[in-house]
Amino acid sequence: MNLMTERNLEKAVNDKMNAQPNAIKMQGKDVTVHYGEKQALFGVSLDVPEKMVTALIGPSGCGKSTFLRSLNRMNDTIEGCKIGGKITLDDEDIYNPKIDVVELRARVGMVFQKPNPFPKSIFENVAYGPRIHGLAKNRQQLEEIVEKSLRRASLFEEVKDRLHEAGTGLSGGQQQRLCIARAIAVSPEVILMDEPCSALDPIATAKVEELIDELRQNYTIVIVTHSMQQAARVSQRTAMFHLGNLVEVGDTEMMFTNPTEKRTQDYITGRFG
């Protein structure tokens, strides 16, 4: 069964025709991750090209979220997590002890599986990052950043009259777009998304996917997803993980039409996983 609709296929082909060879933004080399005794990743090497959406797919527990979280060192917050190999951002080793983790996370933002707005107003949620990083010199600049971020996240029109109401009062889909706006507000270079639509209904999912497609104009995006259709719709490159190994990586179009590995084919056609 071919999961790609005609429209998506056409789009993917166009993307490929128009695409310049993109520079490598982030690069993982022989990345291994241990959680205590248990090894979760077995030497994964993966390039993340600039201003493209890279989808990480694979069955549950295959290590795709682990790999995503090691790209901005969110694994550091987990007790007993050890990382080996090398990950670079613009050819700079992010696990170099001299690297400031806080600064790294400002450059590599993250959107989580479940919408997690802070218990603050919509405005304060988006203003949070700019405030702690001192991106705005005065109130007016801050308001501009907030508005711009909300517009980019296609949320501004829906919430402009209630910016000072609680962000937790929004619907699930709006909350997730608020979290994306919050991530955009610190002007990251890379945005990591960990199953951003798994807690959303189909309509909200469609909106977020549309948004991801627009965001790739300005940002490099890595997205973990369980939905094959979603990977096909929003990504240009797809990496297939299985049991802590990278099975295959390539252009999305190629992966969904003509995968080289049997495991990939079995997975995307729903034979396992």
């Binding site: 901005n72 969110m74 917050t77 007790e79 806080v102 600064e103 790294l104 996370r105 400002a106 450059r107 933002g109 993250m110 989580f112 479940k114 997690n116 707005p117 802070f118 218990p119 603050k120 949070y128 990052g129 702690i132 990083h133 609680a166 937790t168 979290c179 919050r182 991530a183 610190v186």
Partner: protein, 488 residues
């Protein structure tokens, strides 16, 4: 027939009922229907139907019997006149029941030739282990005999009725065992009733405490006007001159209230930062290993009896502060051994585990996703705590702090030993002040009768304290609700 024997019989009937009921349910022909309840539910239902009403009846009957016996005895006592030897009627009644209890222990032979005078009877009874006061009167002996006769009569009637009730209940329960009988639901209803009764007891006790304090307080306000109590600035109850002409004591609440609030304030000033910071450390930074050692250690502080804190303040902290101040000023000890500071610091130490333990639970309850969200935006740990975790935990923390504060205000033993008894109003934390609780202890210690303002004032103070802490708890609830609406 003694009440305990009847009780055992009733329970035995219930137990037999349980097995009969279960057996009946097991052997009953189901007629192809699915039984509604398991056999043991039928057993339990028979047990409850037989034992519960009988036991309740026994309890009511026992209470009614004692009232009836006292009434009868009072009506038989000679009228009280100016030369009655015994001080009060309740004292007389106590003696009669004491004699009655003693007479029950005599053998039949002794009963047959019972001495007619109390002087002869007393050694006889004390040989049986019933000690009586010296001033018992001869006329009490026939009343006590009557008492015993009535008591046996009442017990027998009560016992027979209870056993009849138990048997009737068992028969009723057994007759209700059918395939589709809802024994399971019936048992459920009885359990619910028991749970409701348990919580009602707690509420009724509170109401009872308030009412008893309220009546004593009203008596107090008959001799001292509420305005001089609540707004008076002098505390001078004049114990020595109690009852003497023209020596009305002065009962001003203000100095006590000021001392209470001041000491609680100093304690909170000490306990809140220390407790809150240690809670933040334990919840956010400490490794599980450190946490598993430090948290129980901190909670040991909560297990120390407050009287121990009290003498720690009295013999260690107080003298230390006094000597320290003397050394600092070159001879003159500007900090008194018993002072607001001493009591406040030691009380603060006592409160640390309350603040830290409650806040720790509240901080840990903040979802991990919020921390991840903040860290993922590139904030540091302390920024995350200050800007995300603490605001989210704030309503809970405020509630915890107010709870702690009301504990500080009600704390007694530490201030009794460490704060002093002088009812001063001042703002110097190095001087002694006193608190409401200290004065309650002072007014109620010793050989007293609850009829003078000097002792009744304790109830007015207690009630005031109760309303202060009640108001604080209501305020805490209000704040918690208000913020919760905004945050969740």
């Amino acid at each position: 027939m003694s009440t305990s024997l009847v009780f055992l019989i009733v329970v035995a009937i219930g137990v037999v009922g349980y097995f009969l009921g279960r057996q009946r349910a097991l052997t009953k022909d189901t007629g192809g229907l699915k039984p509604h309840s398991l056999p043991h539910y039928h057993g339990w239902w028979v047990f409850l139907a037989s034992a519960l009403p009988a036991v309740l009846f026994l309890a009511v009957w026992a209470a009614a019997t004692s009232v009836y016996l006292e009434r009868t005895a009072i009506s038989e006592l000679p009228a009280r006149t100016a030369d009655t030897v015994i001080a009060s009627q309740s004292l007389e009644l106590g003696m009669v029941s004491g004699i009655a209890r003693g007479l029950n222990k005599l053998s039949n032979e002794e009963k047959a030739n019972l001495p007619q005078t109390f002087v002869e009877l007393r050694p006889l009874l004390s040989a049986k282990g019933v000690a009586l006061a010296q001033d018992g009167q001869d006329y009490m002996i026939p009343i006590a005999l009557e008492w015993n006769k009535n008591s046996i009569w009442a017990n027998n009637i009560g016992g027979i009725v209870a056993i009849i009730l138990a048997v009737a209940g068992a028969i009723f329960g057994l007759s209700g065992v059918h395939v589709r009988a809802r024994a399971r639901n019936n048992v459920e209803r009885v359990i619910l009733a028991a749970l409701v009764a348990a919580s009602t007891i707690a509420i009724l006790t509170t109401v009872g405490i308030i009412l008893s304090m309220l009546f004593q307080t009203l008596t107090f306000f008959q001799s001292v006007s509420p305005s001089t109590f609540f707004f008076g600035t002098v505390w001078d109850p004049r114990f020595a001159a109690a009852g003497a002409e023209g020596s009305q004591g002065q009962f001003g609440l203000i100095p006590l209230l000021a001392g209470t609030i001041y000491i609680a304030f100093v304690a909170m000033l000490f306990a809140v930062p220390v407790g809150l910071f240690s809670a933040i450390y334990m919840a956010e930074y400490a490794s599980p290993k450190v946490r598993s050692v430090v948290k129980p250690l901190l909670e040991v502080l909560a297990g120390i009896p407050t009287i121990v804190y009290g003498f720690f303040a009295l013999v260690t902290v107080g003298p230390f502060l006094r000597d320290l101040s003397a050394a600092l000023s070159g001879g003159y000890a500007f900090i008194q051994a018993q002072s607001v500071l001493t009591a406040g610091i030691v009380m603060g130490v006592m409160l640390i585990p309350f603040v830290s333990s409650l806040s720790d639970d509240i901080i840990t309850a903040v979802p991990r996703s919020l921390r991840d969200g903040s860290l993922g935006l590139g904030s540091t740990r302390s920024e995350t705590i200050r800007r995300v975790v603490l605001p989210a935990a704030l309503p809970g923390i405020v509630g915890a702090l107010l709870l702690t504060a009301s504990r500080a205000i009600g704390e007694t033993m530490i201030v009794v030993l460490a704060a002093g008894v002088a009812a001063n109003i001042n703002i110097n934390p190095f001087d002694a002040m006193t608190t409401i609780t200290v004065k309650i202890v002072n007014q109620l210690t010793g050989d007293l009768e609850f009829n003078s303002p000097q002792t009744l004032v304790a109830f007015a103070l207690g009630l005031t304290l109760f309303f202060i802490t009640l108001a604080m708890n209501i305020f805490a609830l209000y704040i918690v609700r208000k913020y919760r609406e905004q945050y969740e």
